[in-house]
């Protein structure tokens, strides 16, 4: 059925075109023979084809354009009085004899245009007459096209300023009046279209109407092109009149289109100066009109305008653009009760963008916008609508982008309140955006207060918000988030140690609420940040004296202790252990023995109680040994206790090779290669021998269990240790001992049952090469090496 309708329409269009062509042929002949009467007759018949009601706007336009072309030729003929011998005044009457109104009015417009051109009558009179007479066509489609024809032929004949038709009482007022009237009538016809035809084709009608909208909008374009429409006239006449039409037509489609049209066709400075009038119309529009897009467009235009020509900025201030826009938006939102929340927020986003572009210095404006948004959101549950959420994110991101300094955003009191309305997921995303912004701009957050606010903002990342289902969290995302938080912590910095301490305290307060999954990520950066502070203080100690509550390393260490303790309660003992060791090292550097000792104690306690995994134990013990070796703060007693512990644990590791390695590592505990480091050669040797024994035991165990001896790697490693201490001048380590060890290794290597390991072979070979090299080099060292074969 539908395809039939389309086919029929094609047929009707073809018939119409044929009718036009047929009559055009005779009209041309009449024109060629200067026969006015015939020309009028055939042109009227030709135009009668436009009386059809059967075509859709699209097809009708096709027909109209063909008729239009013919009318151009007719107009040329009318202009040439010599040809038809009829004065234009008579001609103006003559064409009105036509019985059918549509051809009559098309002809009248055509002659009217010639009439104005002849200047035999004031342009305004002719225009006025034409626009009045066109009232006779009340059929929307035909009327629209007729009036559009009128607008077209009169365009270049308006008595505009500087136009040849101006003067003699014809003023630009007349031109404006004419266009306004034509616009008003066209709009009425256009709006009326929707009431035609049955309800079921409403969609189709809407579509068809949409196709015609530019015919109506063209009038506004013409108005904007009139030179004489200056700001004053625009403000006093044009805009109020146009808006009157827009508001009164009470049609959604028309209101939306025309508002948009107004915004697009008239200059920015006009909008700026007439904001109040323009905005005043917005709340009066139909509730279904998409006002937010309209306003967004307006604000976008204005902000572009401000951006493109900074010299107009004072003007923006002068007219209080922000205040007006802001209140208009408030009114629109209040007036359109049914507007979805996303619409309201979109509006706020636009306003915010506008504010940021035009008044970047007015933070209070930004805050005001956010405040308004909060007000709108308040009393509602968290946002469910994903679009609305997106808009809120946009709203919150805008200031970050603009100021590229989170610190600015932190001063906005309403910022966190807006964030509160986001659902948890989005809240996190937003928090990430904030952090990324800080990272990108390398912003330092330098006061405890700001840190407080900042952490309040990103609390979605810092702790579990109510009702976050755990399963929802993606492992990787979670890591990513927490890593970001960790990075963020490093961005908090103040040169003043005391303030820095406050910052650290604040951060600590927040991250402690994070729960077991977050702490492993967040504690380390905090600890390192604190240690950094400690190091700074250590460089300037003495200065702090006399202050009330100085940020002393001691205090910080206390804090650290508590912080790390929290980690050990969550199952992250290894991490806690490492941090304790780091702290111990720092304490060492600060020369506070008790503190360092305490940290070590904690580390050992953790080792004993929490580190059960053998591999972890190996790593941990090596770390302990390494750290302990560096310690120089301990007195003999403390040191002995600790080294004893370390050696003891080393020897108790599960796997023999691990035992062996840990023990020979312990040897370093007794030989610190510093000026005044401990140099206990005997105990070094003791360690080495012990490790050698363990290596032997390991070898035998391998023989027993697997029937082949293990690699000689351990021996080679021990050999290297020997060589090290030998070179460092440990008197207990003799060339004979080394010689013995070398022999031992060689023997082991010739053992048939041994599994060959190229790596350890190569290791041994290069060790031997090293010995050889040292011998060759000569000098004191060469002599020392000489006995070794």
């Amino acid at each position: 059925m539908i395809s039939d309708a389309i086919e029929d329409e094609e047929k009707w269009l073809a018939e119409g075109i044929a009718g036009i062509q047929h009559n055009a042929f005779y009209m041309h002949r009449a024109l060629d023979s200067n026969n006015l009467r015939e020309a009028l007759k055939y042109s009227a018949q030709l135009l009668s084809e436009l009386r059809t009601s059967r075509l859709s706007p699209h097809k009708y336009y096709d027909l109209y354009m063909r008729a239009f072309d013919e009318l151009r030729r007719l107009e040329m003929f009318f202009k040439d009085e010599d040809k038809h011998g009829c004065s234009v005044v008579d001609l103006y009457e003559l064409v009105q004899h036509a019985g059918n109104i549509l051809p009559r009015l098309y002809l009248l417009c055509t002659v009217g245009s010639v009439y104005i051109k002849s200047k035999e009558a004031p342009a305004k009179d002719v225009l006025k007459d034409l626009v009045e007479m066109c009232r006779g066509v009340q059929h929307p489609l035909r009327g629209l096209f007729l009036r559009s024809y009128l607008a077209q032929v009169s365009r270049d004949k308006l008595p505009d300023i500087g136009s040849e038709y101006e003067g003699d009482g014809d003023t630009v007022n007349d031109a404006v009046e004419f266009v306004l009237q034509n616009f008003a009538e066209m709009n009425k016809l256009w709006v009326r279209m929707q009431h035609q035809g049955p309800i079921m084709v409403k969609d189709k009608l809407e579509k068809e109407r949409n196709e015609l909208r530019d015919l109506v909008g063209k009038n506004l374009h013409v108005l904007s092109q009139i030179e004489g429409v200056d700001l004053e006239m625009y403000k006093d006449t044009v805009l109020p009149r146009v808006l009157e039409q827009v508001v009164n037509c009470k049609d959604e489609l028309a209101q939306y289109y025309l508002m948009d049209c107004i915004i697009q066709v008239f200059p920015d400075e006009y909008h700026l100066q007439t904001l109040e009038i323009l905005l005043g119309a917005c709340p009066q529009l139909q509730p279904t009109v998409d006002v937010k897009t309209v306003l967004s467009q307006l604000m976008e235009r204005l902000s572009n305008y401000a951006a493109s020509s900074p010299e107009v900025l004072p003007e923006f201030l002068h007219v209080e653009a922000f205040t007006k826009l802001s209140s208009a938006i408030g009114k629109v939102i209040a007036a359109q009760v049914d507007m979805p929340i996303v619409g309201a927020i979109t509006l706020y986003v636009s306003l915010l963008t506008f504010t940021l572009r035009v008044h970047p210095d007015r933070l209070d404006y930004v805050d005001q916008v956010l405040g308004a948004c909060v007000k709108k959101l308040s009393g509602k549950a968290k946002l469910e609508d994903s679009k609305a959420t997106k808009q809120v994110v946009a709203l919150l991101s805008a200031p970050l982008e603009k100021y590229s300094d989170i610190v600015t955003a932190l001063t906005l009191s309403n910022y966190p309140r807006v964030m509160d309305h986001l659902d948890n997921g989005t809240n996190k995303i937003m928090a990430m955006v904030i952090i990324q912004s800080i990272m990108k701009n390398n912003t330092r957050v330098s006061t405890a207060e700001k840190v407080e606010v900042l952490f309040e903002l990103i609390k979605g990342l810092i702790k579990d918000l109510d009702g976050t289902p755990m399963h929802e969290l993606d492992e990787e995302d979670f890591k990513e988030e927490q890593n970001s938080v960790a990075r963020l912590i490093h961005m908090l910095y103040n040169d003043d140690p005391e303030e820095m301490l406050k910052i650290i305290c604040t951060v600590r307060k927040h991250i402690m609420t994070g729960g077991s999954t977050r702490l492993p990520f967040t504690v380390p950066p905090l600890v390192f940040s604190a240690l950094q502070l400690v190091r700074r203080l250590q460089g300037q100690d003495g200065d702090v004296a006399g202050e009330e509550d100085p940020a002393t390393p001691k205090k910080i260490f206390q804090l650290l202790n508590q912080t790390i303790e929290s980690l050990s309660s969550v199952p992250s003992p290894e991490l806690a252990l490492r941090l304790y060791l780091q702290c111990a090292e720092a304490a060492n550097d600060c020369d506070v023995e008790p503190v360092a000792y305490e940290f070590f104690t904690q580390a050992f306690v953790l080792y004993e109680e929490e580190v059960a995994d053998s591999k972890a134990q190996v790593t941990a013990i090596h770390l302990i040994i390494g750290t302990l070796q560096k310690m120089n703060v301990f007195g003999v007693e403390n040191r002995d206790t600790l080294t004893h512990k370390a050696t003891g644990y080393s020897a108790k590791l599960l796997k023999k090779p691990d035992q062996c390695r840990a023990v020979y590592a312990c040897s370093h505990l007794f030989w610190v290669d510093d000026q005044d480091g401990i140099k206990d050669g005997e105990r070094v040797l003791l360690c080495l021998k012990r490790s050698l024994r363990i290596a032997n035991a390991a070898q035998q165990m391998a023989n027993v269990t697997r029937g082949s001896s293990g690699p000689v790697t351990l021996f080679v490693e021990i050999l290297n240790k020997y060589l090290y201490f030998f070179e460092k001048g440990n008197p207990q380590v003799t060339s004979a001992a080394i010689q013995g060890l070398v022999e031992l290794i060689r023997t082991e290597m010739q053992n048939d049952t041994r599994t060959t390991d190229p790596a350890s072979d190569a290791f041994f070979a290069s060790t031997l090469r090293y010995i050889e090299f040292q011998k060759q080099k000569g000098g004191a060292m060469g002599e020392k090496y000489d006995p070794i074969k």
């Binding site: 007479m133 009340q138 059929h139 009327g143």
Partner: protein
């Protein structure tokens, strides 16, 4: 052709007007459907000229007297050929005698009262004619006619009010229309507007018609004929409440006559403006208003 020649009248009569060269000639539709150009007069004018009688070569015309009559006649078509003379003036031109050669008689009717205009209607005709009669006895009179036309001009009426009226069908359609005058001259323009107070029907279009009502006879024999002389589309499409549609109708293209009221108790010609609204089901709603048409003297 002798046979035709044998029945030829014995003489040629020609009637010429003394100001025939300068007087305005207008077309007049004759009974046989042909149009001839005839001189135009108005009431109170002198009608003067010459009659010239020229006997056929070599013959004499014997007569009982020659006269010229100026007749104003009304002819009803249902009674064709039967003329009612409302004006009859006679001038004797010659006493009985004989005419041997061409002879010319001047004649004059001065300030002739011709109250009615020449009119050619559907059922009635009013004409003015000059009739020359050469009376003869047994041979039958020789008669010659000369038509002329009379048009009477009216000064613009001193009172010419507009026609303004509100009409409607309850709860369906209410309109108010206005024609700027009640009396229009033949080349006049009807200006007006139609204002829609209430529209509950789907109007397709609106026309303004000019109708002529010619009534002949009187009493029970009255015969009325109505013609639509003009059908002028005023509006295309359906208006809404509050819409005002302009009217501008030039009368010059239409063949109108002045309004004639009760011409000699024989006939009347009246004009009406008929406003017709047609709805989408082709129902017609109309309102008819009489207007008076008069003839205004050409200023040119």
């Amino acid at each position: 052709n002798y046979i035709i020649g044998a029945f030829k009248p014995a003489c040629n009569i020609s009637i010429t007007f003394s100001d025939g060269k300068t007087r305005k000639q207008v077309p007049l539709k004759k009974e046989n459907g042909q149009t001839a150009m005839v001189p135009l007069f108005q009431s109170q004018e002198n009608i003067a000229g010459k009659i010239s009688i020229e006997p056929v070569q070599g013959k004499k015309v014997e007569h009982n007297g020659i006269k010229i009559e100026l007749l104003g006649q009304i002819e009803m078509y249902f009674d064709r050929g039967n003329f009612y003379d409302f004006t009859s003036l006679v001038r004797e031109l010659d006493v009985p005698g004989e005419i041997y050669e061409r002879k010319t008689y001047p004649f004059e009717f001065s300030t002739v009262e011709m109250p009615y205009e020449t009119y050619n209607g559907v059922n009635v005709r009013l004409r003015y004619v000059l009739k020359v009669t050469i009376s003869r006895g047994y041979a039958g009179s020789i008669v010659e006619y000369q038509d002329f036309m009379v048009r009477n001009y009216t000064p613009p009426p001193s009172i010419n009010t507009s026609i303004k009226m509100e009409v409607g069908i309850e709860d369906c359609l209410h309109i108010e229309f206005e024609y700027n005058k009640s009396k229009y001259h033949l080349k006049d323009v009807i200006i007006g507007k139609i204002y829609f107070l209430l529209v509950r029907i789907k109007i397709k279009n609106m026309d303004l018609e000019i109708r002529r009502r010619e009534s002949t006879g009187s009493g029970a024999n009255t015969h009325v004929e109505t013609e639509t002389l003009a059908k002028f589309e005023l509006m295309d499409g359906a208006p809404v409440r509050g819409e005002s549609i302009p009217i501008r109708l030039f009368l010059s293209p239409y063949e109108l006559t002045p309004t004639h009221r009760n011409i000699n108790n024989k006939f009347s010609v009246k004009y009406y403006l008929n406003l017709v609204l047609v709805d989408e089901e082709d129902r017609r709603y109309f309102k008819q208003q009489e207007v008076t048409i008069y003839r205004l003297a050409d200023t040119s």
